[in-house]
C-alpha cells in the first residue's frame, strides 16, 4: 500500500498551460501518473501534452473523473485554486506554489474545514508512491518501491535522502513533502498517523528543520501512537537565530525552534536521530535490519 496517493489517483493539473505546470505534467505522465485533465480558466477545449484542458475543476471532475489536484497556480490565485478544488469534490490538493501569504492560507484551510479534501503544501514538492504514482515535482528516477515512509518539510533534501535510501536498496512506500511554510494543510501528525496505519510501511523517516514546534509535536505523537521505528534528521544545527533560512517557516525565533531542541525531543520519544545527513540512508537500513 501507500498513503494519500496510489494507482487509483486521477490527477487534474490546475495551471497546466503555464511553464511549470506543463513541464511537470509531462514528467508525471512519463512516470505513469494518471493525469486525466488540466485546468486553466479560459483555455477549456485545448489539449496540453495530450491532456484535455477544462475551464474549471468541476468540469475536470465531471468529465475526466479526477480525484486529485496538482496546483501550479501563482501565489495570488493559489487560495482560490484550493477553494475551487474543494468545491469540485477533489479528495487531495497538492499545492506546489511558493509565496502564498500565511494569513491567506489560514483563511482557506478554515474555509475548507469539514470538507472531505486534504491539502498538501503549499510550497511543497508533492508526494510520490514509487511504482504507482507521482503527484509532484520530485525527480522520479531516484525512487524505489519499498516499505519506508518518508516525511519532510524540504524538497531537495528529501531527494538527497531518498537517493541514499535507493542506493542502499531501501525502497519507499510513499515520500511526502509537507511544505516549508509556517502554515500547511497536512502536517507531520497526519502523515505519521497514516504511515503508522499503513500495513505496507515498516519504518518512517522524518526529515525536519528549524522553526516552529512541528517536530516537537511529532515527537509527542510518536511516543504515544507510533509503534514502528522512526528515524529523524533535523536540518539547521548550524543555523543562526532570528534569520529566515529560505523557507518562510525555517526561523529560530525567541530561542524556540532550534535543531538541538527538536533532536532532543525526538530522541526522548524513542526516535533514532541522525546528526550526519550523509548517514541518514545507512541509519534507516540498520534500523530496518534490527527490527524484531
Amino acid at each position: 500500500m501507500s498513503i494519500f496517493a496510489d494507482e487509483n489517483t486521477r490527477v487534474v493539473v490546475q495551471g497546466i498551460t503555464g511553464k511549470e505546470g506543463s513541464f511537470h505534467a509531462r514528467q508525471c505522465l512519463a512516470y505513469g501518473t494518471k493525469i486525466v485533465a488540466g485546468v486553466t480558466p479560459g483555455k477549456g477545449g485545448q489539449k496540453t501534452e495530450d491532456v484535455p484542458v477544462f475551464n474549471c475543476v468541476r468540469e475536470a471532475v465531471a468529465v475526466a473523473d479526477a480525484n486529485t489536484s496538482l496546483i501550479f497556480v501563482p501565489p495570488a490565485g493559489a487560495a482560490d485554486a484550493i477553494l475551487e478544488a474543494a468545491d469540485a469534490g477533489i479528495a487531495l490538493a497538492v499545492v506546489i506554489t511558493d509565496g502564498v501569504p500565511t494569513l491567506d492560507m489560514i483563511r482557506v484551510l478554515r474555509q475548507i474545514a469539514g470538507r472531505p479534501i486534504r491539502v498538501l503544501g503549499p510550497n511543497c514538492p508533492g508526494l510520490i508512491s514509487p511504482g504507482k504514482t507521482k503527484v509532484g515535482i520530485m525527480p522520479a528516477a531516484i525512487h524505489l518501491p519499498g516499505r519506508v515512509g518518508v516525511i519532510s518539510r524540504s524538497g531537495t533534501l528529501t531527494y538527497e535522502v531518498v537517493y541514499q535510501l535507493t542506493t542502499l536498496g531501501v525502497g519507499q512506500s510513499t515520500c511526502i513533502g509537507v511544505g516549508g511554510d509556517p502554515v500547511v494543510g497536512t502536517d507531520y501528525l497526519d502523515c505519521l498517523r497514516a504511515f503508522a496505519a499503513d500495513p505496507e510501511t515498516d519504518a518512517i523517516l522524518l526529515i525536519g528543520e528549524i522553526g516552529g514546534d512541528a517536530e516537537e509535536r511529532a515527537a509527542e505523537f510518536i511516543r504515544e501512537h507510533v509503534r514502528k521505528p522512526v528515524v529523524s534528521f533535523i536540518a539547521g544545527l548550524s543555523a543562526p537565530a532570528g534569520k529566515r533560512m529560505g523557507h518562510a517557516g525555517a526561523i529560530i525565533a525567541g530561542g524556540k525552534g532550534t535543531a538541538r531542541a527538536k533532536l532532543a525531543a525526538l530522541a526522548e520519544a524513542g526516535v533514532r536521530v541522525v546528526e550526519d545527513a550523509s548517514r541518514i540512508g545507512q541509519t534507516v537500513k540498520e534500523t530496518l535490519a534490527n527490527r524484531v
Binding site: F23, T102, L103, Y159, E160, Y163, I210, G236, M245, A253
Partner: protein, 390 residues
C-alpha cells in the same frame, strides 16, 4: 521582514491604538526640539534598530528634562549596540525615537502571532510584562493566556474581552483593552503581520493602557502585492549582500565562516552548512538558488557569494530536480568567464542531467574538485580551506 518600533507605532496610531506621543530623529541635534514639541518633563530615548534586547545594551534610556534628552541622544547616536539578537558585530544606531514617558503603574505583555499548529492567529497576554516573554514561558507557562481567533468569524467581542479579563483588568479598562485588542487584530490582518508584540503594555497611574513599546514583523510572502508594506523596509538594517540576493531572486544569509555555499533548496542548503560544520569547517553563508532558478540566477548567485571577501573556498551542492545539473554547470562556467575567481571550487552534482553537467565541467578550461556525496563534498571543502590558509 522586521520593521522599526517607530514604524510599528505609526501603524498603531493609524489604527487608533493608544500610543505615547513620539518623534523620530536621524540627527541627535534634533532631539532637544523634538522633546520640546512633545512637551512634558520625562522622556524615553530609544535606539531604532531591528533587534530585541536593546535595553540591556544601552539602547533605551529615560531622560528628565530637555538637556538630558539631548545628552542621551548624542551618546546613543552612531553607537553600535550589541544585543543577543544582533550578533557580535552589533547594529549601528542611525535613528532615535524620542517619546513621552508613560507614568507606568503596571506592565503587561500583549502579542498577536501565527499559531502554526492551530492554523490560526493567536493573541497572547500576560500580567508579567516588561520582562522577556521567553523567560515567563519557561518559568511560569501558566502566566501566559492564549486566545485563538477564528479565521472565518474574526475576533469576537467576547474573545477581545477575555484578553482584558486574563490581564486582571476591571471597570472601564475592560472596554479600553478590548477595543485595543480589536484594533490590533485588524492591523495584524490588514497588514499581513506574522508577529505583533507590545512589551510592555503599560497601565498609567490613571488606569489607562498604552503601547509603550511596539514590535512588528511582516510576512515576506505578502510584500509582492503590497508596495505600501515594501516601503517600510530599512536597507540600513540589512546585509548589502542579502539585499542584492533578493534582487537576484535567491535566498541568501551571510554567516561568519570561510566556505561559501551554493545549493538548490533550503533544506539541503541547511544540511550542507551542517555537514561543513561536522567536517570541522564554518559556512560563510546560506544560499538557496531556489526551484525556478535559471542560468542567470546561477551566475548571479555565484558572483554574490564570491563577492564576500571572507570566502576562501566555494562549495556547490546541487541535487537536480527541477533544477538541472547541466544548467547549473553552464551557469558556473559563464560566471567564471565573466569574473576571475582564484578560489578552489568543490562541486557535487547529483540528480537530473548529472552526466551532462559533469561533462560540461570536465571539458571546461577550469579546474574543480569533484565530490561524490554530501560528506565527501564537505570534507573536500574543509581540506581545500586548510590548503588555502596554510
Amino acid at each position: 521582514m522586521n520593521i522599526h518600533e517607530y514604524q510599528a507605532k505609526e501603524l498603531f496610531l493609524a489604527y487608533g491604538v493608544p500610543t505615547p506621543r513620539f518623534r523620530v530623529i536621524g540627527n541627535p541635534w534634533e532631539a532637544y526640539e523634538a522633546a520640546q514639541e512633545l512637551g512634558g518633563e520625562t522622556f524615553v530615548v530609544k535606539a531604532q534598530i531591528h533587534a530585541g534586547g536593546r535595553g540591556k545594551a544601552g539602547g533605551v534610556k529615560v531622560a528628565h528634562g530637555l538637556n538630558q534628552v539631548h545628552q542621551l541622544a548624542m551618546e546613543m547616536s552612531g553607537k553600535t549596540l550589541v544585543t543577543p539578537q544582533t550578533g557580535p558585530a552589533g547594529k549601528k544606531v542611525r535613528k532615535i525615537l524620542i517619546g513621552q514617558a508613560v507614568d507606568i503603574a503596571r506592565e503587561y505583555y500583549l502579542a498577536l502571532l501565527v499559531d502554526r499548529s492551530a492554523r490560526a492567529v493567536a493573541i497572547m497576554a500576560s500580567r508579567e510584562g516588561g520582562v522577556e516573554i521567553e523567560t515567563v514561558a519557561s518559568k511560569n507557562p501558566g502566566a501566559i493566556f492564549v486566545q485563538r481567533v477564528d479565521p472565518m468569524a474574526g475576533l469576537a467581542s467576547f474573545a477581545a474581552r477575555n484578553v482584558a479579563y486574563a490581564l486582571g483588568l476591571g471597570g472601564p479598562q475592560v472596554k479600553q483593552c478590548a477595543e485595543m485588542v480589536r484594533n490590533l487584530h485588524r492591523l495584524f490582518q490588514e497588514n499581513h503581520c506574522s508577529l505583533l508584540e507590545i512589551n510592555p503594555l503599560a497601565v498609567d497611574a490613571q488606569g489607562a493602557l498604552w503601547a509603550a513599546d511596539a514590535k512588528i514583523a511582516i510576512d515576506d510572502n505578502a510584500l509582492t502585492s503590497r508596495p505600501d508594506l515594501r516601503r517600510l523596509r530599512d536597507y540600513d538594517e540589512e546585509e548589502p549582500l542579502e539585499i542584492q540576493a533578493r534582487r537576484y531572486g535567491v535566498d541568501y544569509v551571510k554567516l561568519d565562516g570561510r566556505i561559501g555555499c551554493l545549493v538548490n533548496g533550503a533544506g539541503l542548503a541547511m544540511a550542507t552548512m551542517d555537514q561543513i560544520k561536522l567536517a570541522g569547517g564554518e559556512p560563510a553563508n546560506f544560499l538557496d538558488i531556489k526551484g525556478g532558478a535559471n542560468k542567470q540566477n546561477v551566475i548571479n548567485a555565484f558572483k554574490l557569494l564570491t563577492a564576500d571577501e571572507r570566502v576562501r573556498v566555494v562549495l556547490i551542492n546541487i541535487f537536480g530536480g527541477i533544477v538541472r545539473c547541466d544548467m547549473v554547470a553552464a551557469g558556473i562556467l559563464s560566471a567564471l568567464r565573466e569574473i576571475e575567481v582564484k578560489l578552489p571550487i568543490v562541486i557535487r552534482l547529483e540528480g537530473t542531467n548529472v552526466e551532462e553537467g559533469r561533462k560540461l565541467l570536465a571539458e571546461s578550461p577550469y579546474s574543480f574538485v569533484l565530490a561524490d556525496g554530501l560528506a565527501d563534498a564537505a570534507r573536500k571543502a574543509v581540506s581545500a580551506l586548510a590548503g588555502e590558509t596554510a
